[in-house]
């Protein structure tokens, strides 16, 4: 994730090339990876800046979720052992960053549709740069969301009850998981025929995934099979881990399922697994896609 470091400086080759002289000497693979990844990230961020609807969505939606859930359900949902606002916040954080990651998918599909992928694929750039740039800029967006949600949460009385280090670890875990999930979505985005498919499909999959979890209610209150599903749901593990790291668990009992008992470890392993599997798959897929 350190790819965000600006790397504008390049070995300054002699550029007074006559026509037909071709491209200059190529930089090393590593510096190419950094600079190309950064070039595409910058492009995505400029796009974001120029699409006010996206920004408003990214800023207002987290605020809305925090306020809606805490103010509306706060009075009706009881969680034994914790104040609902304290309990709820990690759930909203997780849900928001996971939905944020789906943008990687729809944006890849959109780029494919617009034909810009064909331009990229005929350039001598690093083969993962477009994907790195995509997932990086969505990480930036998710970071922004998390900061906004934490600020809004603080306004409605939510508190981090652990050390600053633990808080940073909690934020890191949210972002790591969403970053890894971005790669899953990017692969999906390259595999579908239109960006709309991604949007519809992600709602169909992610709503159940985030709601049949411990994000908003305790899993123990769900009917039989749903309770088991919720306890083994990776989203639950993320929520549980973040709750623990932020110190929002109160005296709520931890369900007796392995991922719940070892939430932080589960999320770490899960995120790394997603990256190990989906980064190579994405790069391979990218090498064979072409618009239309």
């Amino acid at each position: 994730m350190s790819v965000l470091a600006p790397n504008d400086r390049q070995p300054d080759n002699q550029h007074s090339r006559p026509a037909g002289a071709g491209a200059p000497q190529q930089p090393s693979d590593v510096s190419m990876w950094f600079s190309d990844g950064w070039t595409v990230t910058k492009r995505n961020l400029i796009k974001l800046k120029r699409s006010p609807d996206m920004l408003v969505f990214a800023v207002l939606q987290p605020i809305m979720f925090v306020l809606l859930f805490s103010q509306i359900y706060g009075g009706s949902i009881q969680v034994e052992g914790s104040d609902y606002t304290q309990y709820l916040m990690a759930g909203i954080f997780a849900q928001t960053v996971i939905f944020g990651s789906t943008f990687s998918g729809s944006a890849m599909a959109q780029d494919l549709k617009d034909g810009i992928i064909d331009r990229f694929r005929t350039l001598p750039m690093s083969s993962s740069a477009v994907l790195v740039g995509r997932t990086n800029s969505d990480l930036v967006l998710n970071t922004l969301s998390v900061v906004i949600m934490m600020g809004t949460g603080a306004l409605v009385g939510w508190r981090v009850n652990t050390s600053p280090a633990s808080m940073v670890a909690g934020i890191g875990l949210l972002l790591l998981f969403s970053y890894a999930f971005s790669w899953v979505m990017a692969l999906l985005g390259m595999s579908v025929k239109s960006p709309e498919v991604i949007n519809n499909a992600s709602f169909m999959i992610l709503f159940p995934l985030t709601f049949i979890s411990n994000a908003f209610v305790q899993a123990q209150n769900l009917p039989g099979p749903l309770e088991t599903f919720a306890n083994w749901n990776p989203v639950s593990a993320l929520v549980q881990a973040v709750r623990e790291l932020f110190g929002n668990t109160g005296t709520v009992p931890v369900p007796d399922a392995w991922p719940m008992q070892n939430a932080v470890l589960t999320v770490l392993v899960g995120a790394i697994l997603m990256l190990v599997i989906f980064v190579p798959l994405c790069i391979r897929k990218f090498a064979s896609i072409s618009s239309r």
Binding site: G22, R43, R119, S290
Partner: protein, 329 residues
């Protein structure tokens, strides 16, 4: 060895109704510093050839080299010497013209300073100043095409690929783009251009390969191709359809093929060897017989004619092809 060399290219796409061959043994050879036009109707396989040569897709069979580089084995090396502008503008709508070109420069690894300098240079050269500092979104198709074309030229590529550069443009933008392309190839860039307009191939290229059904079916200069299909055509339009039979007989005597009577029964067309002289004779004989005409003239063969002659079927995209027909001389 020619700078672009492709042999026996095959590409088969799978679809629900079974495999669809897009290329079926295509050969192509383009000498350095020349302009080759790949001429054919929609679906002939032109874009597939360009996509293979520009590393976007891999052929099912066959070999392709550019400047001695195997494009399938070493796509990255190939990408360093090519510039590509596709049928659909591959520009980022949310970026300004300058930002688009600057980004392309950086991805060719020109470095930040040189990328900016080159982007500005292209903006000036292509008269894109208006689009230089505003997102591309709001601009016309012609302007986008120009930005896209400028993107293909960021490195002064050794080989330039233009896939239907003027399809969908209005005549004025088309002429302006032709001007730019002619300027470009003057200093020796090798260009492979695909088009469905015979006129465009004629205007821009040194040599034409006609492609149909995924393979090359004819090759030569525009003049050679036209000569091959019989030079000019004489077209007359009768006032009275009752004269058709006798007019047909006259045209038949001066033509090199069978005259064709149009659907309205009053327009008759025939291929002739020596256009102006045949027209003279035909007109004077029609005059002697007292056959009255609405219109009479000569036209050069169109893509449609080339296709009819070479393949026995018309270029599928008849609407596009009709653009091609030149006014009576």
């Amino acid at each position: 060895m020619a700078i672009i060399e492709a042999q026996g290219l095959k590409k088969t796409y799978s679809s629900k109704s079974g495999p669809v061959p897009a290329l079926d043994g295509m050969d192509l050879s383009v000498p350095q510093g020349t302009v080759k036009a790949l001429l054919g109707p929609n679906g002939a396989g032109k874009t597939t050839v360009v996509k293979i040569l520009t590393t976007l897709i891999q052929p099912t069979a066959g070999t392709a080299h550019i400047d001695g580089i195997d494009v399938v084995r070493d796509p990255k090396a190939a990408r360093r010497i090519i510039g590509v502008s596709g049928q659909y503008s591959a520009v980022d709508e949310n970026l300004t013209g300058f930002e688009n070109l600057d980004m392309v420069g950086r991805l060719y690894h020109l470095g930040a300073r040189e990328s900016r300098r080159r982007a500005q240079e292209l903006i000036d050269q292509f008269e894109l100043t208006e689009a230089g500092n505003r997102p591309v979104k709001g601009f016309s198709g012609g302007m986008r095409r120009r930005i896209d074309l400028a993107g293909a030229l960021v490195i002064n590529p050794k080989i330039l690929f233009l896939d239907e550069p003027t399809t969908g443009l209005d005549p004025r933008s088309r002429l302006s783009l032709w001007g730019i392309i002619k300027e470009l190839v003057r200093d020796g860039t090798t260009l492979l251009l695909t088009t469905q307009y015979l006129e465009e191939a004629d205007q821009l290229s040194d040599d034409i390969t006609v492609i149909d059904g995924g393979r090359a079916i004819a090759e030569g200069t525009a003049d050679q191709l036209k000569a091959q299909i019989g030079g000019h055509r004489v077209v007359v339009s009768l006032v009275d359809a009752a004269d058709a039979a006798s007019a047909r007989e006259i045209l038949g005597r001066h033509g090199s093929g069978d005259p064709v009577v149009g659907g309205d029964g009053r327009s008759i067309e025939v291929t002739v060897n020596e256009g102006p002289r045949a027209l003279q004779y035909i007109l004077s004989e029609l005059g002697e017989r007292g056959i009255e005409l609405h219109d009479a003239g000569m036209r050069r063969p169109s893509l449609d004619d080339v296709f009819l002659q070479l393949t026995g079927h018309r270029a599928e995209d008849t609407e596009e092809a009709s653009h091609q027909k030149e006014p009576a001389a």
